[in-house]
């Protein structure tokens, strides 16, 4: 069995080579950009959230493509899983019909899009301004970064800079790591404090009744119903 037996189609396709990295890059980039645009364009909060998730998910895909597997998984877990559920939860709590879509005035939109176009132009210009950035990568499959990342976070650098045998290896990230963890703790407490309840003391009937059980009811047989327990 060889190429000839397939006839024309194979010889047609044979001239094509696919750069898979490029293919998936385009795919994820398109999803990310279009979804981001949809976030801007849609008025419904829940749809915005959906598009944001798509955008963030596609960005995670880009991270995977760029060889940052750990970061991609992190993005999926924290952002898409955590933050978005948090957001949707917020949406649910504030889901009144008039709140779900707060329309943006058209004028604002025009001004904002002009500004955004200008910003985008500057950024894109900057992106293509340096020669070496435009060269496609070597496609060198580097060693997985999860372990070096973990090592770096506890203060030991084992990535290439260390390998190069620098006299003074670059410092780790132990201090930033600690700061971030303390920061997260502070945020946890702060968020809990901010969103805390305005406490109202409302007795539940259940509890009212629950308090009664400490008092023995004095019923027996079909005698008259005298009540010695507490009442509301």
């Amino acid at each position: 069995m060889n190429q000839a037996s397939f006839g024309i189609p194979v010889s047609l396709f044979a001239s094509v080579t696919i750069d898979w990295h490029g293919f998936f890059f385009l795919l994820f980039a398109a999803i990310a950009c279009i979804s981001a645009l949809m976030v801007v364009l849609s008025d419904n909060v829940v749809r915005m959230a959906l598009h944001l998730v798509l955008s963030l998910g596609a960005t995670a895909g880009l991270f995977f493509l760029a060889g940052a597997e750990f970061l991609g998984a992190m993005q999926l877990m924290i952002y898409v899983g955590g933050t978005l559920v948090l957001l949707v939860f917020g949406v649910m709590l504030t889901a009144q019909t008039q709140l779900v879509s707060l329309r943006t005035p058209a004028g604002d939109r025009v001004i904002a899009s002009i500004l955004a176009a200008a910003l985008l132009a500057v950024l894109v210009q900057a992106a293509f301004s340096i020669e070496s950035w435009q060269k496609p990568g070597q496609g060198m499959v580097s060693a997985p970064t999860a372990t070096p990342l973990g090592m770096a976070l506890v203060g030991v650098r084992v990535d290439q800079h260390a390998e190069e045998g620098l006299l003074e290896p670059k410092g780790g990230y132990l201090l930033p790591f600690e700061i971030v963890s303390v920061h997260l703790l502070v945020v946890l407490i702060g968020a809990a404090y901010l969103a805390r309840a305005k406490r109202r003391r409302v007795p539940r009937p259940v509890d009212l009744v629950a308090s009664v059980d400490s008092v023995e009811p004095t019923f027996s047989g079909n005698s008259d119903t005298t009540v010695s327990g507490g009442s509301e």
Binding site: R199, R200, R204, P205, V206, V209, S211, P217
Partner: protein, 402 residues
């Protein structure tokens, strides 16, 4: 008292300003026991108000009763509490017999106790199984129905029907027991007795079950009496009333010579005439767990009564007696009689004007009063507690709507 209240008050936190939501639970809802409609006003998961809407199963049974002779109305009583039709038959028959000052034969008396208590077991089995279903476990439901089927088989032998028996009737029974029936009933009881432990294992003592029912829907004794709750609901709150012992003489006379202890918590414990699991620490008197447990105890109690009745019935000499025809006139007057049905005290009231057809017929339904207390119990509970509370009241819509 107020100090106790202060300590026991739980703080409900209102994290966010939320809108109240009106939710319709039913009439097409898996856990409303037929066609009950509960309108819940909820704040998130917390139910601030619950209102039962009834009437979806109304069939004008009472009005129909005013156009039929007393015996013709028996099939309509079947359709009230259709899970305990024998008890309904008995209630109406006894009411008419009370009016007529008629006393059934000794043999019929024991047979009535036997049949009615057997039906109480069947009814409580449904109540128990459906309660498991309300709490999200399916298997006990089928275990309960498996045993109920055997009771229904026994009933089918007796009267040909499996749900609407019309077996007990004014003046006696429509037929005597078929030969060999007592042995089969005995065999059923012997086989059923150990199975109750299964139910205790699956539900009564199950940790999750206890968590879901203990301290939920606590009904204080005085509230239970205020709302006219009866039956296991009342006894679950620790009120020691059982019409089989405390009722009118024509009804208590039926149980003369029978030994039974009312299933109610007295001095911190239930009657100790049989093995039963200990009351969990979390449960307090009057909560869903106790209502459920009282039913479980009554199953055992009824089994005991059935055995006693079988003994007495088989020792009875003489005929069962023919039921009354009642084509002739009923004496003018009025009468009211309540009997202890599985769901509670079922009362029948009839006014007669001297013709064979009652002038007024009225049924006092226990489920109706029991359901009436549910808004009180559900205030401030979680949505998941609503089926737990309503299920623990064990209402039958056929009886409420009539």
């Amino acid at each position: 008292m107020s100090q106790i209240l202060d300590e026991d008050q739980r703080i409900i936190e209102f994290d966010v300003r939320t809108d109240e939501m009106l939710v319709n639970m039913g009439p097409q809802h898996p856990s409303t026991h037929g066609v009950l409609r509960l309108v819940l006003r909820t704040d998130g998961e917390i139910v601030s108000e619950m209102e039962p809407h009834i009437g979806y199963l109304h069939r004008c049974a009472e009005k129909i009763g005013e156009n039929l002779t007393a015996r013709q109305w028996i099939p309509y009583t079947d359709r009230m509490d259709y899970l305990a039709a024998m008890n309904m038959n008995l209630g109406w028959s006894l009411a008419v017999e009370k009016l007529l000052r008629y006393q059934v034969s000794e043999k019929a008396r024991h047979l009535r106790v036997l049949i009615v208590e057997l039906n109480r077991i069947a009814s409580h089995l449904v109540g128990m199984g459906a309660y498991g279903l309300d709490l999200g476990t399916f298997s006990p439901f089928l275990y309960a129905f498996r045993e109920r089927e055997k009771i229904l088989d026994l009933f089918e032998e007796v009267c040909g029907a499996r749900l609407t028996y019309s077996y007990i009737t004014v003046g006696g029974m429509t037929a005597d027991l078929p030969p060999g029936w007592l042995q089969r009933c005995e065999a059923f009881l012997d086989q059923f007795e150990p199975i109750i432990q299964e139910y205790h294992a699956l539900l009564t003592t199950n940790a999750i079950f206890v968590k879901r029912t203990a301290k939920i829907g606590v009904l204080s004794p005085e509230m239970a009496i205020d709302y006219g709750c009866t039956g296991p609901v009342l006894r679950g709150s620790g009120v020691d009333i059982d019409l089989r012992r405390d009722g009118e003489s024509i009804y208590t006379a039926m149980h003369d010579g029978y030994a039974f202890e009312v299933a109610v918590m007295k001095d911190g414990h239930y009657p100790r005439d049989h093995k039963y699991p200990a009351v969990p620490r979390d449960a307090i008197l009057g909560d869903c767990w106790h209502r459920f447990f009282v039913r479980m105890l009554e199953v055992v109690q009824s089994m005991d009564l059935v055995r006693q009745a079988m003994d007495r019935y088989s020792q009875c000499k003489g005929a069962l007696g023919e039921p009354l025809k009642l084509a002739e006139k009923l004496p003018a007057g009025d009468t009211y009689l309540e009997t202890e049905c599985p769901k509670g005290q079922m009362g029948f009231y009839l006014v007669t004007d001297g013709t064979s057809i009652p002038w007024r017929v009225r049924a006092r339904s226990s489920s109706f009063s029991n359901l009436a207390v549910s808004p009180e119990l559900c205030r401030g509970c979680l949505i998941a507690d609503v089926p737990a509370i309503v299920g623990s009241l064990d209402v039958v819509m056929g009886e409420i709507d009539r």
